[in-house]
Symmetry: C2
Subunit: 228 residues, 2 copies
């Protein structure tokens, strides 16, 4: 569990939020690189808020995971909650953004997909949701046209733009809120551009948003097996 | 969203909890009735806390759902959080229980299973987690030997005992906390006994725990389509 002082960098909104809703396959090039169909409607899964870490903290490789992947994503922070939010009103419910990583135990996810089982463990380990400090809405006036990038040990792996989302933010908010009520502090991860790939213990992951608006760095470490 | 006064029946613990972790196929007879293999280790998925309702409130049938199923389950409320909790210490982390329903859009879940997609929407709609008022640990001294039952329109559908769990509560807590840190107020749904089946708008669902320790009732209504 992250030290309290590091987590203070997160906005109160995020700290009090109760869910992380992550959109799958929202960039064509990423859907294709994993051999998946491009979805005809948004689909999503939950990550637990216990997975939050922030800049400088360690990303852990779970013992059972033979391939841990990075996915850099724009995170949308809900200010005013709602249910059945219309796309045309969706942006009024947004209070700001974070840069986020949707860390994924790809090996476990592939097993789950084959067996028709939930993605939850593959997406939900501790440290699997690194996020930046809160970015107020006013500081990102055009969220649908912003660069996001990620490097591993200094080598660029992902370099995309939110302009390439299949379903833009208002559609995502409408889709999620047609299933589950969105609440203040909830986070929506909007999907990842192409270039996902493995990280290993000892690696350093860096990522950024726009031109220097966010830049953060995470060491990767091995998580020890539990006493199970 | 539930009216605030009704939700006051829930313990502060539950209201401040940030996750609901639900165990799949933890009773042999239930795994078999849906044609699934009996698992060799516990697996689980997340439900959002926005799905909580309590006694007397309406369970909604989502527009996209052609078959909504009831699953009556014992819920375990975490008092003291922890990570990599050993089975032998697990019960020290439990502060009490609730009777719960893991409402499931079975038609959507079957589609998700076939497509290798997350179970999240199928398990996560608003009103999909009815729970009783909090039951202090001391009032349920033998949680592994308690009757739970459910009826629809007065006809018994599920009548099982927690003695039939494949993995008992300490193993569930150990398994979940080896993936994600458990926090105060988190709820673990421990799986459902045999007898799951459909409910429709107009039905009344009743369920109970032990001999009159809990008894609650929920009307089933149709949720209107969103403006999507
Ligand atoms: Mg992702
Ligand atoms: Mg899931
Ligand atoms: Mg269940």
């Amino acid at each position: 569990v992250p030290p309290a002082d590091k987590m203070r960098a997160l906005a109160p909104l995020l700290r009090s939020g109760s869910k992380i809703v992550a959109i799958g396959r929202n960039y064509k090039a990423h859907a294709k690189e994993l051999g998946n169909a491009v979805p005809s409607a948004p689909f999503f899964f939950l990550k637990p808020t216990s997975a939050y870490i922030t800049d400088g903290m360690a990303i852990e490789v779970p013992p059972a995971c033979t391939e841990l992947h990075h996915e850099v994503e724009l995170g949308v922070v809900i200010g005013r909650g709602g249910r059945d939010i219309a796309p045309g009103e969706a942006m009024d419910h947004v209070t700001g953004y974070v840069l986020a990583l949707d860390m994924t135990a790809r090996s476990l996810q592939e097993e789950a997909k084959k067996a028709g089982l939930p993605w939850t463990a593959a997406k939900g380990y501790d440290t699997f949701c690194p996020v930046s400090a809160f970015i107020d809405k006013g500081r990102l006036p055009d969220p649908q046209n912003v660069r996001l990038w990620l490097s591993v040990n200094g080598e660029t792996r992902q370099d995309g733009t939110t302009a390439d989302m299949i379903f833009p933010i208002p559609q995502l908010i409408a889709a999620v809120s047609s299933v589950m009520t969105l609440q203040t502090g909830d986070l929506i991860l909007t999907g990842t551009p192409a270039g996902v790939g493995p990280v290993r213990a000892g690696d350093t992951v860096e990522c950024g948003l726009a031109d220097g608006l966010v830049r953060m760095s995470f060491p990767v470490v091995q998580r020890r097996a539990s006493r199970l």
